[in-house]
Subunit: 201 residues, 3 copies
Amino acid sequence: VADHCAVGVSAVGGVLAARGKRVDLFGIVVVALVSALGGGTVRDWCLGDLPVLWIRDSSYLLTGAGTGLVTFFLARRLPLPQRGLLIADAFALALYTIVGASKALTFHASPAAAVALGVVTGVAGGMMRDVLLGEIPAVFRKEIHLYATAAFLGCVLFMLLSLIYRPEIAAPIGSAAILTLRLVSIRWKVGLPTFAARESG
Amino acid sequence: VADHCAVGVSAVGGVLAARGKRVDLFGIVVVALVSALGGGTVRDWCLGDLPVLWIRDSSYLLTGAGTGLVTFFLARRLPLPQRGLLIADAFALALYTIVGASKALTFHASPAAAVALGVVTGVAGGMMRDVLLGEIPAVFRKEIHLYATAAFLGCVLFMLLSLIYRPEIAAPIGSAAILTLRLVSIRWKVGLPTFAARESG
Amino acid sequence: VADHCAVGVSAVGGVLAARGKRVDLFGIVVVALVSALGGGTVRDWCLGDLPVLWIRDSSYLLTGAGTGLVTFFLARRLPLPQRGLLIADAFALALYTIVGASKALTFHASPAAAVALGVVTGVAGGMMRDVLLGEIPAVFRKEIHLYATAAFLGCVLFMLLSLIYRPEIAAPIGSAAILTLRLVSIRWKVGLPTFAARESG
């Protein structure tokens, strides 16, 4: 159930990112699916766990496409709860990242590779969405505050806890850490420095 | 033979999309190959049918690169038959999509996943081409009329027919449906709604 | 050792390409890793040699991320040796390309497919970096002079020599040819024609 919620939330995020772009209804469904399933697809390609998840279990495909369609028609009529969406998206980030890192561990990836794959699973869908929409990926931008960084730090915590505790204990703590970091960084506008150091301080 | 024609037509489309961009001859060959083989490559990654098709049978690589080169030199001298190219491209879309969906079925993908993979095979090459050239993928744009949508609907028809008839009967009907939908949508300027509902109607 | 140098040099190139873009520190590390490991990752996806290299041996991941971080902090303070970086990058291109082509041969790829995979290994990381940063890939641009073309020609030479000599002899000669072509093309500003033939010559 949590998986499908994460797919749905990411699909909604994809649809909203396409707002105002010259993208038609079908493109919006594609963008929704790329947002929702892109990270897991790249993870499965890297691990060699093929066919990829959404071929083995196409319910994810239907959840993503269905949510995308419903969002498209709703968002033309109703204002969306921005705050609720940010929290739901942080939840999806936390879930995807820890699921990705856990899966990498079951494929005997080293801790560093598992952290990398966790972050890839969490953020690659959104990155591909932004590239398709002709933008520099939002996860890189200072205005977004800690996003990939929250995923990274929570993933490192998860790996450290995995050395001591069983995954069933380490995973929820890692996810909670990502969720907390993400929400705290939005609330207090915490971000990382950029390269253009002179201008932006 | 039909496969190689589709590769060639897609390569021509790739070269023409690079016209006027600051892309050199080698870049144009790369763009031609990405247009022609990108969809099938992503499909093989997703299905786990590796090495990918153009490594197992490099004649596709030579057809794509050769067509790209010839087009580059011809198109600097001659006007190209725009109408003929649109029809040939619709033919390639129809062929790629149904080949992709059929291949997914032989890997025991569910109907929904097979439709998704068919559409990916049909449109991903062109999407990657547009991203490399710094544009929002044309398949998403209203001005292109039904493109990915034609592939999707023809693919659904193919899946329905596959439940009743053998693939040798279902595949040509599905392809014909895609070709017809695509050409009809160009002729009568049929398109899907976009998100910016107020402005564009 | 040479492998890790190539990873490091590519990571530095990735960081420098992100200069002046609105990309935060984490994004810069991601761009560095994509530049350094992107080509090999796509190669392993295509060959089906999974999990990909950096999951099996995560020292590459650490070299890339570490170099990216160090470069980020150094480059904010010190001017970088532009000439030295161009030469180091040409060295990395030569190494990646021939390693990619050699690996394809060990997977029984045909000569044409091995050349294609060699070039992909050499240039795909930089292409993905440029797409993430919202630019048309630099390897396609005339101002860059021979880059992918140098990789292609050196790779063809490597394949021809492989027919006669053992790989241990053919590989260094192929690499040297790529390095030489690349540096000669920068020194004498040799480039390929573009499509916009009227305007640019």
